[in-house]
């Protein structure tokens, strides 16, 4: 008798739950007409950002390339006339990229950042090869205030030795004062 009751109850409860879900909001969205919300820290398409003064942040240090488990980043450093180091070319082969974000973790200048854009689909694999002009954006991304050259000891045009944020004025080696 007791088991019979519980069997009926179970059936009714299941029907009730299903009926209840009919009136709740659906989790699925009508992609691509509707876009889901992705957090700013979501790991999608990779971009290269600029520092607050609008200059490229990337100093072509190669740390992203060496951190990359699929070896899909390649670049070449160049020293420009203003003393800044930049990437002569910067290439990410997104057909190999696994969006692991190691490059972002490795980047010492906050230049390389992953964005919530996950729509990386092409009919041609070749179209997934992104060059520097495709990667570079015009803003600072997730870290609006950081400027690497203000922290480093390197002199660039517009910032001489000793003018960085944590620096004393350069020492006069031939001075006699202690």
């Amino acid at each position: 008798m007791k088991t019979l009751f519980s069997m009926f109850y179970s059936q009714l409860r299941t029907m009730g739950l299903i009926l209840k879900h009919t009136f709740t909001k659906a989790d699925t969205v009508q992609y691509p007409e509707e876009q889901p919300y992705l957090a700013p820290r979501y790991r999608g398409r990779i971009v290269l950002t600029r520092d607050p003064s609008g200059e490229e942040r990337c100093v072509a240090c190669n740390l992203c390339a060496v951190a990359c488990p699929t070896d899909c980043i390649s670049l070449q450093q160049t020293i420009d006339d203003d003393g800044r180091k930049r990437a002569e070319f910067f290439r990410i082969n997104f057909s190999r990229c696994i969006l692991c974000g190691f490059c972002e973790e490795a980047c010492p200048t906050y230049a390389i950042q992953l964005t919530p854009d996950v729509e990386l689909a092409e009919y041609e694999r070749q179209n997934l090869v992104y060059e520097k002009e495709h990667l570079l954006i015009s803003g600072p991304g997730k870290y609006p205030d950081y400027s690497f050259y203000q922290q480093s000891g390197l002199a660039i045009s517009g910032k001489e030795k000793g003018q960085g944020e944590q620096e004393k004025t350069p020492i006069d080696v031939k001075g006699l004062m202690p």
Binding site: L63, E88, E131, G153, Q166
Partner: protein
């Protein structure tokens, strides 16, 4: 250094280890592949205990629990000594030392060229210092411009003093120093300017952090982990320093030192380090000339065969070269036959080669490490500071042997650097030089004398007489008279030399080719035979009781990297340049010489006249070379060959040791190794059917065909061996570097198999094992040690490695071809009738480190370092022309007129002058110069030429860099390494 190692047992963290008794505790710990951080210690510069980084705990005995801190680098090892590396107090101490050093270290590792191979980074990680507690502001310095080669970023300095100790104490530099006090110590020059030492590039490797960086490498930078490297041999002089060449995206990036205990040790000269730029230069030949190419895409074997078939069966003369590998030279000789083979040497040089080879046969040539051991050095007519700089550095170290002995007497070990220097004072091992130009070693030698080459031979003869008299031997009366006629200062010098020579236990005589004087080598031969005579040996064995006398050693420095390899191939019937021309001019029916094959030969020893003659008389000139030259313009057929980093081969150094250089990277078709071109010639012209398709195959062919082939070929080499990786395990960008052309990854280039066990195969990938010894190591690396200091973990200290050595084959019978020595100097015509006074004197070319080597000359940076044209004369001669020091003169030398500044040297004799003119090749020396006053037009022309040269060099530098940056992105899908037909 190569003494058998005595060991003692020490206990490190209660584990017993066997370490070298003669070295300090730090070296002992490192030799056991244990990790102990250090900065100021350097294996060849000893300890000063400046950085306090290598603190370890030393315990009294097994029961001692507390122990005390000692600096490992200044602590000698004793039997049964107990130390601890893991004691928390010592670990904390080491971490705090780093922490203090890092207070002012700038936050610029990402933009530092040292990053990734930085000793400071490694040590910081090793001590576990991970977060910065100092919040104050950082001290800064301004940088200096230290010239073309070395960059300066003083903020990164941790004041270990290694740069000073290397540049000033070890290499004898004068223009570098330490300034300031306390926390403001600055390392640099008094003012901005080019570093003068020939060893300035070593600062980059000696500096534990990024204060000194390689400027040429930084301009086109790559991280160490991205470089594809292979063991190589320096192609710029005859010392044969071991190097490691690094390549990225198809262009050569840099050369670093590869440790070799007997030759270069830890240091290279700047010519070797920075001279590699010619591989990337604008002058490289990249296409063929005189060969009709059918397909627009690439040259095929058929194209070459179609061109060459017209010359089938004709007789060719082959001229080899001292820049090409032993294999290529031997292959050429085998193709044309030894009676049609020439080494590109003149009669006079062939006579020198013959004497040189007979000297090599008789006397053992010391290695660079053995030069460092000698206690008496006599230099005869060679400026080794410029022609063989690494050997000159060894001579400088030999001068310290007096200090080492003195220190040993009171129980100070040789690695106690500052103590040894204090006790040694200014006392030096005797070094004498009889030479024709002043050198940088003059300031440290006991006595020197400037002599014309003829007088030099006379002086050596007098020295021989002097030695014989000392030994109590009878000497003919003529020789007595000769001695009596000498001026007193010469006599006094000879007296001094003889006295020191008789006291010496390990004497050394050094000479070379740069004076182009066969007489000098002949008289050296006489001197050596006296020094090796029984009487001399007996005298020395009687006079010395405690230490044994070693017979006098002789080092002769030939001009080029493979001079000895080429000379070892010479036969009795080999041709000199003059004979090549007579052979060509003979019209003797069917045995007519048809053409000339030039193997990597720019014919530097041909005069302009001779070149014209060659062009007129040879029907066909086939030039195989890697760079444009006058010859490649003259030649009918030009075949582009590989440079040092693009092919395999062997070079024989000044001792005759054959050393292997490996291919670092592949080239683009149709550039291929010269032996591949020779193979095409062999098939089409010489009707040899065999097709040689790999370096290993070539080696086997040569071993079969040539009698006395010096390189061992072992039958039982396992070629399924995994090989050694040319790339680091962390090489990056593999799936992206050619993705701009195709997302499909390129196939890995196959590497050549090996034919013997001591030359292991190398892979063009990051797969493979790491090298077992430093001699086959493409790059230096050990776990936890990314910098070049990892070498202390790879080689066990200074012990000689047990790798096999191949020597060139020396024929027992001397080369005696009378026609070589009988050369008549073409006396150049007197200058045209001139109203101005003309001075005649014997011109000796001053050797210059950066401009003597043909290949290195293609570097724009070396041109920028070009010294001004100058001629130094005696006071009388210059005043005879009515001129003063600093005025311009015009000089007629071997039909070439050059203009330069005149200077005065008081110690010069009347009819001798020395100087440097960049227009003249290295072999124009020891000839008569006609000096007269230069008029204003000539001066103006000269100055504008000089200026133009500098402008061009600057332009060229920028052009090369711009082109390399473009080619970085044009990494081809598939690079050819198997000749023209590989798919």
């Amino acid at each position: 250094m190569a003494k058998a190692m005595e060991t003692v047992t020490i206990f490190i963290d209660n584990q017993a280890y066997q370490v070298d008794k003669g070295n300090n505790l730090l070296a002992g710990v490192l030799s056991q592949k244990l990790n102990l951080p250090y900065f100021c210690w350097h294996p060849s510069m000893g300890s000063v205990g400046a950085c306090r980084q290598c603190a370890v705990t030393q315990y009294q005995d097994e029961n001692d629990q507390r122990g005390r801190l000692v600096m490992a680098c200044t602590t000698p090892v004793t039997e049964g000594m107990r130390i601890g590396l893991k004691e928390p107090a010592a670990e904390k101490f080491r971490e705090q030392v780093i922490s203090a050093m890092m207070t002012n270290h700038p936050h610029d590792c990402p933009v530092c060229a040292e990053g990734g191979e930085c000793h400071l980074q490694d040590m910081t990680v090793m001590t576990g210092h991970s977060s910065r507690s100092y919040q104050g502001k950082k001290r800064t310095f301004t940088n200096q411009n230290l010239g073309e080669f070395v960059g300066h970023e003083m903020n990164r300095c941790i004041t270990c003093y290694r740069c000073m100790r290397f540049y000033n104490d070890y290499a004898g530099g004068k223009d570098f120093g330490v300034f300031g006090s306390k926390n403001q110590v600055y390392f640099g020059r008094q003012t901005d300017g080019q570093l003068e030492s020939e060893f300035s590039g070593n600062l980059v490797e000696v500096c534990p952090t990024g204060v000194f960086t390689n400027k040429l490498f930084s301009a086109h930078f790559s991280r160490k982990w991205d470089l594809q490297s292979a063991p190589s041999i320096c192609a710029h002089c005859s010392v044969g320093c071991n190097t490691s060449i690094g390549e990225r995206y198809g262009s050569v990036r840099r050369v670093v030192n590869r440790f070799h205990p007997d030759i270069n040790g830890y240091f290279l000269c700047d010519r070797g380090r920075f001279g590699i730029g010619f591989v990337n230069g604008e002058q490289r030949l990249k296409t063929t000339k005189g060969i009709n190419q059918l397909s627009p895409e690439k040259l095929s074997r058929l194209d070459v065969a179609k061109t060459l078939v017209h010359h089938r069966g004709k007789k060719f003369i082959g001229i080899g070269s001292a820049r090409a590998s032993l294999e290529a030279n031997a292959y050429l000789q085998q193709l044309v036959g030894s009676n049609n083979f020439s080494a590109g040497l003149s009669n006079q040089q062939m006579a020198m080669a013959a004497t040189h080879l007979s000297l090599l046969n008789k006397y053992i040539v010391p290695s660079v490490a053995q030069i460092e051991d000698s206690d008496f050095i006599l230099i005869l007519g060679e400026d080794i500071t410029q022609t063989a700089p690494r050997a000159a550095l060894a001579v400088r170290q030999a001068l310290r042997n007096v200090s080492f002995d003195k220190a040993a007497d009171i129980g100070i070990p040789s690695w106690q650097d500052s103590a040894v220097r204090t006790i040694g004072g200014t006392e030096r091992t005797p070094l004498f030089a009889l030479q024709s130009t002043p050198t940088k070693l003059d300031e440290v030698s006991q006595a020197t004398m400037l002599l014309a080459p003829e007088q030099l031979s006379q002086c050596i003869e007098a020295l021989i007489t002097k030695v014989q008299l000392m030994l109590g031997l009878s000497v003919s009366s003529e020789k007595h008279e000769l001695l009596a006629t000498l001026p007193t200062e010469k006599l006094r010098l000879l007296e001094q030399i003889t006295q020191s020579l008789l006291k010496a236990k390990k004497p050394l005589v050094v000479t070379g080719w740069s004076l182009q004087s066969p007489a000098l080598l002949k008289s050296t031969e006489q001197l050596m035979s006296v020094l090796h005579s029984d009487d001399f040996m007996r005298y020395n064995n009687e006079s010395s009781e405690e230490s044994e006398y070693l017979s006098c050693q002789l080092a002769i420095f030939p001009p080029e990297s493979n001079s000895l390899g080429l000379m070892s191939l010479l036969e009795q019937e080999s041709l000199s340049n003059e004979q090549v021309l007579t052979q060509l001019s003979h019209d003797s029916g069917d045995n007519d010489v048809f053409g000339v094959i030039l193997l990597e030969q720019q014919l530097a020893n041909f005069s302009n006249n001779q070149l014209q003659q060659l062009r007129q008389q040879a029907q066909v000139i086939i030039a195989i070379d890697h760079s444009e030259s006058e010859i490649s313009n003259l030649a009918d057929i030009v075949m582009p060959a590989t440079a040092i980093s693009e092919g395999d081969g062997h070079f024989a150094n000044y001792q005759g040791i054959l050393q292997r250089y490996y291919q670092v990277h592949t080239t683009l078709s149709p550039v291929q190794e010269s032996w591949r071109w020779l193979n095409l010639l062999a098939i089409s012209v010489f009707q040899q059917p065999e097709r040689v398709d790999s370096f290993a195959h070539l080696q086997k062919v040569l071993a079969e065909e040539c009698k006395n082939w010096p390189i061992n070929i072992s039958k039982d080499v396992e070629n399924d061996d995994v090989g050694i990786a040319r790339q680091t395990h962390r090489n990056s960008g593999r799936t992206s570097q050619s993705a701009n052309f195709s997302v499909h990854e390129p196939q890995v280039t196959k590497s050549s198999a090996s034919v013997n066990t001591f030359e292991p195969p190398l892979n063009f990938s990051m797969e493979g094992k790491s090298a077992e010894n430093s001699s086959s190591q493409p790059f230096a690396w050990a776990p936890g040690w990314n910098s070049n200091q990892s070498i202390n973990h790879n080689s066990s200290g200074n012990n000689s490695e047990s790798s096999e050595r191949c020597f060139i084959y020396l024929k027992s019978d001397p080369l005696l071809n009378q026609s070589w020595s009988a050369s008549e100097e073409e006396s150049p015509s007197q200058p045209n009738l001139q109203t101005e006074p003309v001075a005649h004197s014997l011109f000796i070319r001053q050797s210059t480190c950066f401009h003597d080597d043909w290949q290195a000359n293609f570097n724009a940076e070396f041109t920028l370092k070009l010294p001004i044209n100058q001629l130094t004369m005696s006071t009388e001669q210059l005043s005879g022309l009515g001129l003063k020091s600093g005025n311009f003169v015009k000089v007629l030398l071997a039909d070439q007129q050059v203009v330069g500044k005149a200077y005065v040297d008081e110690s010069l004799s009347e009819n001798l002058c020395y100087g440097f003119f960049h227009q003249l090749t290295a072999t124009i020396t020891n000839i008569t110069a006609y000096v007269s006053k230069a008029n204003d037009d000539e001066i103006a022309e000269h100055l504008s030429n000089q200026q133009q040269l500098m402008m061009q060099a600057k332009e060229q530098q920028a052009q090369v860099l711009a082109r390399l940056k473009i080619t970085d992105q044009l990494v081809p899908i598939r690079m050819v390494s198997g000749g023209l037909d590989e798919h």
